[in-house]
């Protein structure tokens, strides 16, 4: 199981703050595509992905048990 955390606008779009995916292994790029096509989360395209609280790159591999966070452009400060 891979837990995907959603924040800000993405959270409102999805109507929930996390999605559980029954997947053993997937790349960052693939998970972004999946969230866009399957869950219709358009803002994923412009978002960064964090795996276990570290920013990840498109080619990085996510494994079951990992916590993924979709990070839309930040606006703190």
């Amino acid at each position: 199981m891979i837990e995907v955390l959603l924040f800000a606008q993405l959270q409102e779009e999805a109507g929930k703050d996390k999605i559980l995916l029954d997947i053993k292994e997937i790349t960052v790029k693939e998970i972004k595509e999946k969230l866009q096509s399957q869950f219709h989360l358009s803002q994923v395209k412009e978002s960064m992905v964090a795996v276990n609280e570290e920013y990840a790159l498109d080619g990085d591999i996510i494994q079951t048990g990992d916590t993924v966070a979709i990070i839309p452009p930040v606006s703190g400060g």
């Binding site: 606008q9 409102e12 412009e46 609280e53 920013y55 990840a56 839309p72 606006s75 703190g76 400060g77």
Partner: protein
């Protein structure tokens, strides 16, 4: 223990407590930056702001900014606290304190910190206007780098 140098909190921030965290016998300067909630942006009137964070990662990223500062400006001490939740106009959203033996690194490192917060720290704000609301993103019109180098100009720092 209230001695965490990099924090995301829900209660009001005490500027004084951050100053205390960076006090040092070898410091000759302490700079503080206080980010507050602005009422008018362009033609829009904000009623209040709602901040949300991915808290564990946000605190990690704040600590990373502190580490970057220590590497670029040795002998500095840094403390950053960001508040989340509902914030009224003029409320303090973020406080950055930097101490240094001399004033220039304290000023420079403090500005560096706020620029980096706007690049890499997973915190988002939602504007509540009189006639609507919206999550604000990409104020810097760039996307945070995973491991990246800061985007602020370097020439004055050396």
């Amino acid at each position: 223990m209230r001695d965490k140098l990099f924090e995301v909190v829900e209660d009001p921030i005490s500027v004084d407590s951050l100053i205390k965290k960076v006090e040092d016998r070898n410091a000759g300067a302490i700079t503080t930056f206080i980010g507050t909630v602005r009422e008018i942006t362009g033609k829009k009137k904000t009623i209040y702001l709602e901040y949300q964070a991915y808290k564990p990662m946000a605190e990690k990223m704040l600590a990373q900014i502190g580490k970057e500062i220590n590497e670029r400006w040795p002998d500095t001490k840094v403390a950053i606290t960001h508040r989340i939740g509902s914030l009224d106009i003029s409320a303090i959203a973020v406080v950055i304190a930097v101490s240094s033996p001399h004033r220039k690194p304290a000023y420079q490192a403090n500005e560096y910190a706020i620029e980096r917060i706007k690049q890499i720290v997973p915190i988002w704000k939602k504007e509540q206007w009189e006639d609507g609301e919206a999550w604000i993103g990409d104020q810097k019109e760039n996307v945070p780098y995973p491991t990246g180098k800061p985007e602020i100009k370097d020439e004055d720092n050396d």
